[in-house]
Assembly symmetry: C2
Homo-oligomer: 142 residues x 2
DNA sequence: CTCTTGATGCAACTGCGTTGCATTTGCGGC
DNA sequence: GCCGCAAATGCAACGCAGTTGCATCAAGAG
């Protein structure tokens, strides 16, 4: 399902409304090939002629993060749409290109199992984790 | 080997010198049961009667991070001493207590293997990763 | 069309971390 | 111990990211 549709539905469910700026933001995030930070999103919107304040971008991004529709790239404020369906699963791991910044979620049963093993081995009561791989995407390798 | 010793050696190797403030900082990091951010380190030092400026703490922390003697907790600026020996290995994974903030590095062969598998499966040329587990430590469970 | 209230714009503000520069101080050499 | 150089520090100014309060605008339900 398209990100903007999913987001609009989720926002309306919350009693939210669709404004010109918000719609443009959702479409920008959807079309962007790589995670963008609020400031970058703002710049792109302005460049496209959308009159919107940076504060609004921050507020919208915060809302989408709360709804689980966006993820933040570790160590930055750039956000990317969650690749999951309606009901996001537990673990959302991503590979991020260190050159162009593009990101893709991935899943690995072996990794899930290994994490389960660690979970049992450590003396902490594990409640979650952060995991992100770094590397070069196909196009950036050439 | 004790963190402060290891750090002093590494700093001297770089042509660095030991000052009162720096020594106090190293010992504070060594003694602290949990990762502290530069501002917290500074506050603790002042509280202990060490006259040092916040800028110096920042600069020292930066140096220690560059030397690989400290790691940052993901999503924060708090730092913790690397648990490795003289030659830090590739992967330094940690579990962080969500209640008290205490952290411990751990190692898992199964995890290394699973990551290797993912590395091969993805179409990116993986160069590294970030991984951190979250949970409750033993004492915070009670 | 009207009304309610969510969304926005604007400006002030906070807090973090950095930078430039003058001053201090560690420490190697004597 | 004294000297001199470079490392380290302190201080103040600065830049930048993100937040907050509040007045205003406008989505969309009735
Ligand atoms: Mn996801
Ligand atoms: Mn380590
Ligand atoms: Zn790339
Ligand atoms: Zn704890």
């Amino acid at each position: 399902m398209k990100f903007s549709r999913k987001a609009e539905a989720a926002l309306r469910r919350r009693g939210g409304r669709m404004t010109r700026a918000r719609r443009a933001l959702l479409e920008l995030i959807e079309k962007s090939p790589r995670p963008l930070a609020p400031r970058q999103l703002h710049r792109e919107l302005r460049r496209a002629g959308v009159r919107v304040d940076l504060v609004s971008v921050y507020r919208n991004v915060a809302a989408l993060l709360e709804l689980g529709l966006l993820h933040r790239v570790l160590g930055s404020t750039a956000v990317r749409p969650c690749a999951e369906g309606e009901r996001p699963a537990r673990c959302h791991h991503a590979v991020v290109c260190t050159a162009c910044g593009s990101a893709r979620e991935f899943h690995s049963l072996a990794l899930e199992r290994a994490l389960g093993e660690v979970r049992r081995a450590t003396r902490y009561r594990i409640s979650g984790h952060l995991l992100e791989l770094r590397g070069l995407c196909e196009s950036c390798r050439s």
